[in-house]
């Protein structure tokens, strides 16, 4: 199925909950409203024509200093889906506000979402509602802050931890 047909099918199902679509550089992308993301992912996974059975990647981007996005929602959570059955790809995005960084979890759809969402929480401080075990993945629990946020300075030192501090 070609990319524009995928986007059209998503629009047909989700209606106004698809906020915008584009096919920049051949990567077909749909921006979905936060409340519709689980529906969108479920539809992508289960629809016979789409059959996006693999959650290839789940990550986020902090648009804090991005030209033109300074006042918009701060984060994008990005889902890259791939269909082994039909060999096509799509990218879904959810805009996340800085004040309420909360997205519904996809752990009920794909088990791998568990770790990927933990990484996004760890690196960006975006919470996933309904996640069974939202611990940090790469950093340790005592780490202060979320390092991939644009306002986290790369040279920041962390407080020492351990039994003898």
């Amino acid at each position: 199925m070609d990319g524009s047909a995928i986007l059209a099918r998503l629009r047909g199902r989700l209606g106004a909950r698809v906020l915008e679509t584009h096919d920049h550089l051949g990567d077909h992308t749909a921006v979905v409203a936060s409340e519709g993301i689980v529906d969108a992912l479920t539809f992508c996974r289960d629809d016979a024509l789409l059959r996006f059975d693999m959650l290839m990647d789940l990550t986020a981007v902090d648009y804090l200093t991005f030209p033109g996005r300074e006042d918009g929602p701060r984060f994008d959570v990005v889902y890259h889906l791939y269909s082994v059955a039909h060999n096509h790809r799509v990218r879904l995005k959810v805009r996340v506000e800085q004040d309420a960084p909360l997205v519904p979890t996809a752990t009920g759809l794909w088990p791998i979402a568990n770790w990927l969402e933990r990484e996004v929480w760890d690196m960006f401080g975006i919470r996933f509602e309904g996640h069974p075990d939202l611990r940090r993945l790469l950093m340790y629990e005592e780490f202060v802050g979320h390092p991939l946020r644009k306002d986290y300075p790369i040279e920041r030192r962390q407080p020492l931890i351990g039994p003898n501090v």
Partner: protein
């Protein structure tokens, strides 16, 4: 608290647990000889059976994605070496291809073949390491030594081309660092003969070996459906019988112009993973041979006709204003400035002056070249893809290696995301070891081929 006996304390036996015994918690790692790299498996045991496992990663986190954001686009190349450090060439090329996609440029035909050749050589190195290490942990130390010997021959090839063995930094946005050296095809043939002999020896030693099969067959199995749900790619999903190979289903570079087969397993257990990796090595070598044969030719050595003048004399003449005809004069550069011949670099790199550094002769030999070089290294200039985002996926040795690059139009990547191919299998590791024996953790973990560099980034 009443005094507890050693048996109660260490074996969990005794009163207060209902059934008279309780489960034992065991830490494997972080620093454990069988945890190649640093990773911690926290296992709950009932006798010798693993009831539950939890995997803790992140011990090798070095802020790869954050570091990429603070330098120009090409500065990320050395960091990508350190992702999967057993097959760093694939990381280099995949990252460069993601940026090229963002820029909308097409690399030269010869460069595509070079990328295929070097990627496949790396893939053989990676599989050799994985199979060798797994075999060693099951007691077959000979296999490990043989395979490391074979890898040595391949690393000599890599060293020949890139000048380094591990941290090669050979890829560039828009091309590669240098063309293949002279006589490379002959060296490849010799090295592959050695590797093939090692593979035959290893097949004879362990493929039908009773001890090896007892430890591998039916252990750590994942079905095709489960592998897909866990996002597992690469040899592990093919061992479960899913014919998903990016080189076949979404060909990039020159993979649609070489013939190869996609080896498939059936049961998705450790033994099938081993067999798939062994078969893939042969296919990879086949691809290298074809690609070398079909690589578009061009003169390898560039003759500079006429006499050469030393570079300092050249600069002196320029300072005196005697610039007439200077551009046409060939200059003798010291070996470390010489870089590639101009023609040789033109063959492997894109012509776009906004992307690829000019050859050293041009930089030191003409004002246009110097300005071109300067514009590419100056802060705020350099490679500046238009604002946007691109995801490029290559078939890494462990599976889909994806780079998601976001540009804000500046000379530094706004965000680089690496989709590490070995993260999903490590995430699925608890699922694979649950219900198995403690001793099965080791071969299962070996077959995952965890590479700390790309797992923790």
């Amino acid at each position: 608290m009443p005094e507890r006996t050693a048996r109660e304390l260490f074996l969990g036996e005794g009163p207060g647990t209902g059934s008279g015994s309780q489960n034992l918690y065991v830490n494997l790692g972080p620093a454990h000889p069988a945890m190649h790299g640093i990773i911690r498996i926290f296992a709950e045991l009932d006798g010798e059976v693993v009831v539950k496992g939890d995997v803790e990663i992140g011990y090798l986190h070095r802020a790869f994605e954050k570091e990429c954001e603070i330098g120009p686009y090409n500065n990320a190349i050395p960091y990508t070496d350190r992702l999967n450090y057993v097959s760093p060439l694939i990381n280099n090329f995949a990252y460069a291809s993601a940026v090229e996609k963002l820029l909308g440029i097409e690399i030269t035909e010869r460069c595509k073949y070079i990328r295929v050749v070097m990627s496949e050589i790396s893939r053989v190195c990676d599989h050799l390491t994985c199979v060798g290490a797994t075999a060693m942990e099951l007691g077959a130390f000979t296999v490990f030594l043989y395979m490391i010997k074979a890898r040595e021959f391949l690393w000599e090839l890599v060293e020949d081309v890139t000048g380094a063995r591990l941290t090669i930094s050979y890829g560039r946005v828009g091309g590669v660092k240098a063309d293949l050296p002279e006589g490379f095809g002959i060296k490849v043939r010799k090295a592959f003969a050695e590797v093939r002999q090692v593979l035959t020896e290893v097949h004879t030693l362990i493929t039908g070996n009773r001890i090896f099969m007892d430890r591998m067959v039916g252990v750590g199995a994942l079905s095709a459906e489960e592998s897909i749900a866990w996002g597992i790619t690469g040899p592990m999903i093919r061992a479960a019988g899913v014919p998903f190979d990016l080189r076949r289903v979404q060909p990039y570079w020159a993979y649609d112009r070489v013939e190869f087969e996609v080896p498939l397993g059936k049961n998705g257990d450790n033994f099938d993973r081993y067999l798939v990796r062994m078969a893939e090595m042969e296919q990879a070598m086949r691809m290298v041979e074809q690609a070398l044969e079909r690589m578009p030719e061009g003169a390898i050595n560039v003759d500079f006709e006429g006499r050469e003048i030393p570079v300092d004399a050249y600069v002196d003449r320029g300072k005196q204003g005697k610039t007439e005809g200077l551009l046409l004069l060939p200059i003798a550069l010291s070996p470390n400035l010489e870089g590639q011949g101009r023609e040789a670099q033109r063959r492997v790199n894109v012509a776009d002056k906004k992307v690829v550094m000019p050859p050293k002769e041009t930089t030191y030999g003409s004002i246009e070249g110097l300005m071109n070089h300067f514009m590419l290294v100056m802060d705020g200039y350099g490679i500046r893809p238009p604002a946007g985002e691109a995801y490029f996926a290559a078939e890494g040795a462990n599976g889909e290696l994806g780079f998601y690059v976001v540009s804000d139009g500046g000379d530094r990547p706004y965000r680089v995301r690496c989709r590490p191919p070995c993260l999903p299998p490590v995430a699925a590791l608890p699922r694979m070891i649950e219900g198995q024996m403690v001793a099965d953790i080791i071969p299962t973990f070996g077959s995952v081929n965890m590479i700390g560099g790309e797992l923790d980034r």
